[in-house]
Amino acid sequence: MSSEQDHLKETDTEARFEFKKEQNAAVKSDKGLTEEVIRMISEDKDEPDWMLERRLRALKQYHNMPMPTDWPGQPDLTELDVEEIVPYIRPDVDKREGVDDWTELPDEIKDTFDKLGIPEAEKNALSGVGAQYESEIVYQNMQDQWEEKGVIFMNMDRAVQEHPELVKEHFMTTCVPASDNKFAALHGAVWSGGSFVYVPEGVTVEMPVQAYFRMNSEGMGQFEHTLIIAEEGSEVHYIEGCSAPKYGVHNLHSGGVEVFVEEDAHVQYSTVQNWSKNTFNLNTKRAIVEENGTMEWISGSMGSKATMLYPCSILKGRGATDTHITIAFAGEGQDIDTGAKVYHNAPETKSTIESKSISKDGGRTNYRGLVHIADGAENSSTAVECDALMFDNESTSDTMPYMEIEESKVDVAHEATVGKIGDEDIFYLQSRGLDDDDAKKMIVAGFIEPITEELPIEYAVELNRLIELEMEGSLG
């Protein structure tokens, strides 16, 4: 390892996230959203015609849809000018689909990921790591043993070329169609990179499959697409981390996630995101869960100027189960609007939503949830719990839990608590020797413990560290 890399690893977490590299793009699109830009992206990716057509159709839908402005209490999106966003940057990597040997990466990209600790995680013999830099997956590694069992984990762009049937059938068709909302349409038009995960029938992938997304350039948009297909009786845990440094111009992250949980399958999707505080983070994430399938969404949303993110599970088959665990942290000038959506469309379906939010220095968090239990979904149950922790009187936290219950034979529970971080609690810890800051950190660490205990250790540590940094106000 070079001495420069050694140096990078020694720098602290703040520097690791704020670290920016000179842009060295092979291909960079124009700003804005025109048919020419879309054609250029598709051509650069050498895509089949059907994908180009889907992109162009999504672009039309995007232009025909209004911005969402009529939601009660929604984040202010007026500063977001999509026409000023560069939707596509391909970094200068020789092999288009990314390299599978870390050492082949250009130094600038290696350095960035080194600082983020990605090689560390990789070294710990995790089953697979994909790393996306700007719009492209630049590194991908997957243990051979999983490939032998038929597990596919690859760059989404490459999956379009190599697994066209699977992609054609599942990509933005039944789960998240481009017509779903304005940002899903945008995503459908300009999507690039992301992960494709396919787990064949009956296969259990014991180690988490991991991806890391890094947005490095000023004024860009990142639109990775994640498509996970878990066939009958299979099991997989997909985990992603995301970050971006801060620039003077607004960035946009508008990812799309589609998960197909077939009969008796089990998918856990975990994400720890830390966007810079000028990023608009507007995503659509959805799972369709078949009979006796289980979907678990675990997410930590940090950073961003505004986040609108409501992972959704459609419980389509009898006995399908959904779990949502989310945590949001909003500091000064941030509006984190997250929650969960669950549609109970079959009998004996079950959902659990646990939402935790922390607001500080005038930040705002909002839990926006929708639980819909359809007529005929008898013996279904849902339990929603929202806990908000506020640091001061300037910060705000709202809870908007919508419940649409059309079936009477169901069990519905909702519980919400909002509290200011307790002076007595802080004093208690101080009287035991912790200073004011450490006391607050310990209380917050305890508050988010249900999330961290679900995550692999590297991510749990990272999440704790990010929250500590947020509390010190040291992340730009």
Partner: protein
């Protein structure tokens, strides 16, 4: 040997003008047990909180002095002559803790998600760090900056130099819990969350046993305890004094605990002042006759 000295202490509620302490004088030394008794509202708990630095109270007059002696914190920390007396009212609560003040709470906070083990190890190490800072030779080099690198995990990482590591701490904790007859599952439970009243009190004594204070102020540590638990807690308090030489200020309403923890001195607090002091027999007298006779004796009115 340490000595805590309350001198003409006046205090009121910070955001009001309600006077609570009106000239408290009291002295507690290492190895002594003092019982502080008195009716509700006489200022006993406020005294405890003011000693520990609770932000809800403002001291308007008087001092709380802590006198330390050589060897107070073992051989590792050398106490210079000019650092032997501290007016602890100038210090943050955590700094007071580092100097050896411990407050056992009547109603301890419940902190979800923080295990007893994690909490106690963090507290112990925080205290060690803070002591180093308080007694630091100003010319000493500052090379012990905390390592913020990726390699050390805040959850399981190796201990920094001078800190108590996970394995070492487990052993300390296990021993202390055995002494107090506590279930070992306690260690993995969240701090006070869902603890019964008795478990909370036992936990306060456990914390004192681990943090090894010079002076422990125990605020109604006996309330809400059944007889078995009262004995466990009392044994813990006696061990603090006998094994660590802790000086104890025991706030209580009842004679009951004093049957197990025999006080060297008993003080009666009335209207924000120590109205009368005596030996253990005073507690028995109070049990018999209540507080009114003290009031009569001191103020000449009932």
């Amino acid at each position: 040997m340490a000595r805590l000295e309350l001198s003409n202490l006046h205090a009121e509620v910070a955001d009001g003008d309600e006077k609570i302490l009106e000239g408290v004088n009291l002295e507690v030394k290492s190895g002594e047990i003092h019982a502080l008794m008195g009716p509700n509202g006489s200022g006993k708990s406020t005294t405890a909180k003011v000693i520990a630095g609770h932000p809800a109270y403002e001291v308007t007059e008087g001092e709380v002095l802590l006198h330390l002696e050589e060897g107070e914190f073992g051989d590792e920390i050398e106490i210079d002559d000019d650092q032997r007396s501290w007016n602890i009212l100038d210090l943050e609560p955590n700094e007071r803790a580092a100097l050896g003040i411990f407050l056992g709470f009547q109603y301890p906070a419940e902190i979800e998600g923080v295990t007893m083990t994690n909490f106690l190890r963090t507290a112990l190490n925080a205290k060690i760090d803070e002591r180093e800072e308080l007694f630091e030779d100003e010319d000493a080099d500052e090379d012990d900056e905390e390592d913020e690198g990726f390699e050390t995990s805040p959850m399981e990482g190796p201990a920094d130099e001078g800190e108590v590591g996970v394995a070492e701490f487990q052993q300390i904790l296990q021993e202390k819990m055995e002494e107090l007859d506590m279930d070992e599952r306690f260690a993995q439970r969240y701090l006070n969350a869902g603890f019964s009243g008795g478990e909370k009190k036992q936990n306060e004594v456990l914390q004192a046993a681990i943090l090894e204070p010079s002076i422990a102020v125990l605020d109604e540590i006996d309330s809400g305890l059944d007889i078995d638990r009262l004995q466990d807690v009392s044994n813990g308090i006696n061990a603090l004094r006998d094994e660590q030489g802790t000086g104890i200020l025991q706030i209580t309403h009842y004679q009951r605990i004093l049957d197990y923890v025999e006080p060297d001195h008993v003080h009666v607090m009335l209207d924000g002042q120590i109205a009368k002091s005596g030996d253990a027999s005073l507690a028995a007298e109070l049990e018999d006759k209540g507080y009114d006779w003290v009031r009569e004796e001191v103020y000449g009115t009932a």
